[in-house]
């Protein structure tokens, strides 16, 4: 798959230019680049990117707000997050809001281009760090579920296989290595990882809806 339409959102001009140049050299089309979240949400529908490369820390609005705005204005857009600081709660919130990929800014060029390609193809891009966060989030949800008077909407759970796969991702194994170790196909491993994110997105949307309804009834 070639010629991905990419939009770059980052408040650092030098970084924005560097990334745009790298993407253009690799044969992708940079359809827009902006330094602010609100601006990104405004132009995304007109620019129609396949993938948004998004810095998680923007000066105006939070990463979660940007992702929600992007997905509302241009449904089907895929978001690859980059962050310089590796701050954890922000990354997890962004994943729950619908981002499907995450990379540290210090990742190498090849790794970055591979991540853009895979995000465009709909594959989740996990770092070991993100896998650890997602594992932790499922455990937290399970704990609130077990608590008396817990969440009314049953929190999603991972199957044993999904947990196994996610743990191996968190320990730095590639999908290929995981497939070999568990005797699965590469595609199956990929599906398992994708499901772990899919369930979180869905749960997040249900929770948001419920929250909105509760607020509406109360107000």
């Amino acid at each position: 798959m070639n010629g991905v339409r990419v939009m770059v959102v980052d408040d650092h001009p030098m970084w924005r230019e560097g990334v745009a140049r790298d993407l253009a050299e690799a044969g992708h089309e940079v359809v827009a680049s902006c330094g602010e979240g609100r601006q990104a949400v405004r132009v995304v529908a007109a620019a129609r990117p396949d993938v948004v490369v998004l810095d998680l820390q923007l000066p105006d609005i939070s990463g979660v707000e940007v992702i929600q705005g992007l997905r509302a204005a241009h449904p089907g857009v895929r978001v690859l997050m980059l962050s310089a600081s590796g701050e954890q709660q922000g990354v997890l919130d962004a994943v729950k809001a619908g981002a499907t990929g995450y990379l540290l800014k210090s990742a190498g060029l090849a790794e970055f281009l591979e991540a853009v390609r895979r995000t465009a193809a709909g594959d989740p891009v996990f770092t070991p760090g993100l896998a650890g966060l997602v594992l932790g989030e499922y455990r937290r949800l399970a704990a609130t579920n077990d608590a008396p008077g817990g969440a009314a909407a049953a929190a999603p759970r991972l199957t044993e296989r999904e947990t196994e796969v996610l743990r191996l991702v968190a320990k730095g194994m590639s999908y290929k290595q995981i497939a070999e170790r568990l005797g699965l196909s590469h595609r199956t491993v990929q599906n398992h990882v994708q499901n772990t994110l899919g369930k979180l997105h869905l749960h997040n949307r249900v929770e948001l809806t419920r929250y909105a309804i509760e607020r509406g009834l109360d107000g």
């Binding site: 310089a84 800014k105 210090s106 190498g108 060029l109 650890g132 966060l133 455990r139 320990k171």
Partner: protein
Amino acid sequence: MPAAGGFDVPLWRAVAVFRVAALAYVCVVLVRDADRYAHPLAAGFLVLLMAVWTAVTAIGYAVPARRGWPLLLADLAVVVAILLATPLVMGREALDAGLPTLPVAWLSGPVLAWAVCGGRRRGAAAALVLGATDLATRGMVTPTAFNGAILMLLAGVVVGHVARLTVTAGERLQRASELEAATRERERLARDIHDSVLQVLALVQRRGAHLDGEAGELARLAGEQEVALRSLISGAEPFAAGPADAPVDLRTLLGRHASAAVSLSAPADPVLLPSAVARELAAAVGAALDNVARHGGGRAWVLIEDEESAVTVSIRDEGPGFPADRLREAVAQGRLGVAQAIRGRLTDLGGTARISSTPGAGTEVELTVPRRES
């Protein structure tokens, strides 16, 4: 012992005010009793002397540099001298009639000065000297005179104690606000560094990582500095000491090992363990990572998992690994390797260590510590 920071300034002011107020009372006593004194004029001159000395001390003690032994000793000596002169101007008759000695409470001035300057002991010492002189000049111990001496001793001790407390509290407050200012400054720096330096370092690394030779080396160095700087500004430095059962976030302790070569994965919420347990576990992880670095180095991955009943830390590397029976062999030969050191630590914590390895495919260490019922 002059206190830094001037926290004793209000105390010195209070001493000066006390002396002036006490002098006013001395004047009242003089006016009331002068006609019964043997030498009323001399008594008036003595009170004038007291007024001068009150002014001298008020000015003298106001400057920290002058609050030394010379002034303290002179203060005590002058007051003792005035006290000794008192019976001469009052006369035996007036004293025997039970009139209060002329300086009354004014003679406590040096006691307060000594107490504010040097704490309880100096306050008590000055009180004893003055009390003894007072009793000696009367030639007899009346209950009132004795009470006065005791009250002066107590005043010396109490004021000395309070003075120390005030200075210590002031210093603590200052330290606390300095710490707060430092924290705020670090947060500000962290924001700035994040916005600029980190981004540039990451960019340098990314642009140059695929280049050969010196450029590639520079990019690699930039990447290392980026990681070091990031962990520095996150301020994840745990306090060195603390109670053994105070909960500590394991992520913070293990965060120190994260680098370009070691990736750390953890939940978003703190993983709390009693600090003694967390420290032992962190030491075991450190030993495992040291071992990775010693045997060919390469990358390593650390995963922290927080379950309801246990905390698990896994360490995986893709180093040379070793055959499964070598561990047993080592134990049989009585060699206590790194593996045994790690196992020992975990056994002490009531946990387990699982170590598995295949030659050529790296090593995996899984450390599990049960959560104690709380």
